[in-house]
Symmetry: C2
Subunit: 141 residues, 2 copies
């Protein structure tokens, strides 16, 4: 009997910390519920993927395309000073890529955002507004 | 008269903090002089590039290929538990991508490495040994 891999599903901690924006060809796009910085998270919908190198070549090419497209959108929407793009995953193993819009006057600048200051949840209308501004510029499936 | 962009050269702070390993098609590969973690830095040799989206599509495709190749090499050489891959650049503007080999017993785990604990320079023979192990697995130009 063949062992079947379980299908992909979003890691529960990512689910708790974010709101879904939509699905691209490879990745689910999430908004981190942290009003300190406009912050997107891409999660390739590939069961078991932990590292970028767990993706095949075609998936890696798609990943950099989706990172670049969302980086441009996030920069346009926020007029940020710098983008921070990172695949870390020391706590949540499921492969996920952070794209964070940084400003020179934000809560952690110039430090990276992870662990710098406690997350500050959005007022729900503000989170909805951020998500709507991203959706207005992205063709989700 | 046309204005000429200055040619690419390595940022002075990156130069101070690292040792050169070699050049790939797109990026210079550096070893961070920090014995706390085996740590590579890729610097695309594109003058003026600050963000991944400052690269054109072909350069972005080459970048993900070089990130993946070096990630596999670093994982093989170090037998690390996790890779951390990040383009941050809040302090050094020149586009550079960190690839850090993490262990569950390293100095900062599970925190990201940036700002976690002070850098600990290698004994020079140990840095040379790390560089030699990377060079043995990579075809540099």
């Amino acid at each position: 009997m063949m062992t079947q891999s379980p299908p992909w599903s979003l890691d529960p901690q990512l689910q708790r910390d974010t709101a879904a924006i939509g699905d691209l060809t490879l990745a689910r796009v999430l908004a981190m519920n942290n009003a300190n910085y406009p912050w997107l998270v891409l999660v390739p919908r590939i069961a078991g993927a932990v590292e970028i190198i767990d993706l095949d070549d075609e998936q890696q090419a798609q990943l950099i395309d989706e990172i670049a497209m969302l980086s441009r959108v996030l920069k346009d929407v926020t007029q940020c000073h710098k983008l921070n793009v990172a695949a870390i995953g020391n706590v949540v193993a499921q492969l996920h890529i952070h794209i964070v819009a940084r400003r020179r006057d934000d809560a952690a600048w110039p430090k990276p955002v992870w662990g710098a200051v406690p997350a500050r949840p959005y007022a729900s209308a503000d989170l909805a507004s951020f998500i709507a501004r991203i959706r207005a510029e992205v063709a989700f499936g």
